[in-house]
Symmetry: C2
């Protein structure tokens, strides 16, 4: 179905893949990208930093590429996928919480008004996240996410959420890795929500997923050692939190960064305001027919200051409508 | 000089090394280990988890090994290396702080009484760390550490601190990596103190170094974007902080863990209290002649509860005197 799902995890295969990676893309490494500016900019960048002896050469260990997730690797409309998970969890937990029938954001969810989730602002979303993302062990939460993502369907397309990933971006991830890059997710989404499926879908292992995370408690439960998920946020991986998350987890500055909203601006600045050849890319949602069209003023994934800065600094802006021949793998 | 220092970072060489890694150890992979129990236990474990089709086989992506640093990968006596760095920084900064001449831990440092550093307990150490580890950018701090470690000498041996690493552990790191393991440092030491040299000395890149870390602020300084190091601790990577740091950074449980003190006990429990074949190893400092001999009651690196639990559970305990034919690379 997807490239990501076909990836083998056995050692010998991995080594063979790595050794022949440079041969694997003898054809077009980015077949779902039209031959327009962004594709040319990406290939030109990769060729420059991987050419030994060239002025722009970057050693393998420093080839760090960071990707936002929501709206950059997969769709974020009409709501972030993680909020659909929250909705389903609230419904599942409701019988144990009769008080939710009248409590702001919980009542909206139970009445089938998903937009009510965000109506209560940050406090409402926090209450929902606390109720659904803490009070269990990391293993229990991981299983909940895995079970949910295996069966839940996107409300507009009826497809699994993992089919709502962008085919051109999957190709880009593969292309970068084939050229020695280490690819990381740097998302405002929950780190524990992304890790259970990111490896299968994107080929990105848990240790390369950076996201918003809560405090943990090392404890005993039913005679077993566990890590309990606590309600308070330890790191908010959005806006200025993105370069901070990058420093904490990676400890070096990326040489390429990919985002789609103002929440990614600081990550792109941290990447491109530094000496040497750098690549900063904004995915611009311009395709109302195959996906969604939104930017300035959108309630989710607003791209406003970021678009101005991209234009000012000559960063690469991907026009989804004009630059991608295909959006989703099943399209 | 060391294996680590000879490692090339260019892409093609790295790939060639990886492809031929399994051939590179056709001889004895652990020449500085005597043919005693620990060496046998390590090799038996590695052979079992890497043998495809065997009951204990572990896919490459899950071969995570975590190492404490102080006392496990390099010497920690008569004081943690990071405290020698603190001493030298306090001396360097003293002219700008005349008040330090009479202030508890600062006065001890300036009077040449290194043991006075720990005499004031945690509050004194925190004051020293705050004064020397915050108020600058991450890049500035990284340069300070790199400059210091290139020239500072261990007070007992007169050798660079990076020569005070354990040769058998360097061989072990290489052996595990050659068998598809990803090796991580999980240390109570400062993450920003270890990252500048861990790749050169241990072959462990910054993104695989986990340690105690402070809060950061994304800011402008002299017209450039920077991350400022703030005085407060964001994560204390010791004791129960180790499994928490592992979950945050790696997101999976290690299958092998290596430590030397009670501060590592929770990391070893988190690794070995789980189903499947696991390897938990304590390095026991028993060699007063070639290194130092200490365990229960030591002010630095005490091994007390950990030793009891290792004996109780049959974990591997390395007797440095009897199990290692060589301790330091230059010995």
């Amino acid at each position: 179905m997807y490239r990501g799902l076909q990836r083998s995890t056995t050692g010998s295969v991995a080594i063979v893949l790595l050794c022949f990676a440079s041969l694997a893309f003898a054809g077009d490494p980015l077949p779902s990208w039209n031959d327009t500016g962004p594709k040319k900019a990406i290939i030109q960048f990769v060729e420059a930093v991987t050419k030994e002896g060239s002025r722009d050469f970057v050693p393998v260990t420093e080839r760090i590429a960071t990707f936002d997730n929501d709206g950059t690797l997969w769709a974020e409309q009409p709501l972030y996928t993680q909020l659909f998970f929250v909705i389903d969890r609230v419904k599942a937990l409701a019988p144990q919480h009769p008080e939710w029938r009248t409590q702001g954001p919980f009542a909206s969810v139970l009445k089938g008004d998903p937009r009510g989730i965000t109506a209560g602002g940050e406090a409402g979303v926090t209450a929902l996240l606390t109720a659904t993302h803490s009070g269990m062990t990391t293993d229990e939460f991981s299983r909940m996410v895995s079970d949910w993502i295996a069966t839940a369907k996107h409300p507009s397309t009826g497809q699994p959420f993992t089919a709502m990933v962008y085919q051109p971006m999957l190709e880009l991830l593969d292309y970068l890795r084939a050229n020695g890059f280490k690819t990381f997710i740097v998302s405002g989404g929950g780190i524990d929500f992304m890790r259970p499926w990111a490896e299968k879908v994107y080929g990105i292992p848990p240790e390369q997923v950076i996201g918003t995370s809560g405090d943990l408690k090392f404890d005993m439960k039913d005679g077993r050692l566990v890590l309990l998920k606590l309600p308070n946020i330890a790191h908010n991986d959005d806006k200025a939190g993105k370069p901070i998350g990058i420093q904490r987890h990676i400890g070096r500055r990326p040489i390429a960064a990919f985002g789609n909203s103002d929440g990614d601006l600081q990550m792109l600045q941290w990447t491109c305001y530094s000496p040497g050849l750098r690549l900063c890319v904004y995915v611009h949602h311009t395709d109302a027919e195959r996906e969604w069209a939104y930017d300035r003023g959108s309630k989710i994934g607003a791209l406003d200051k970021g678009l101005d800065e991209a234009n000012l600094r000559g960063w690469t802006v991907v026009d989804m409508k004009g630059d991608w021949s295909r959006v989703f793998p099943l399209q």
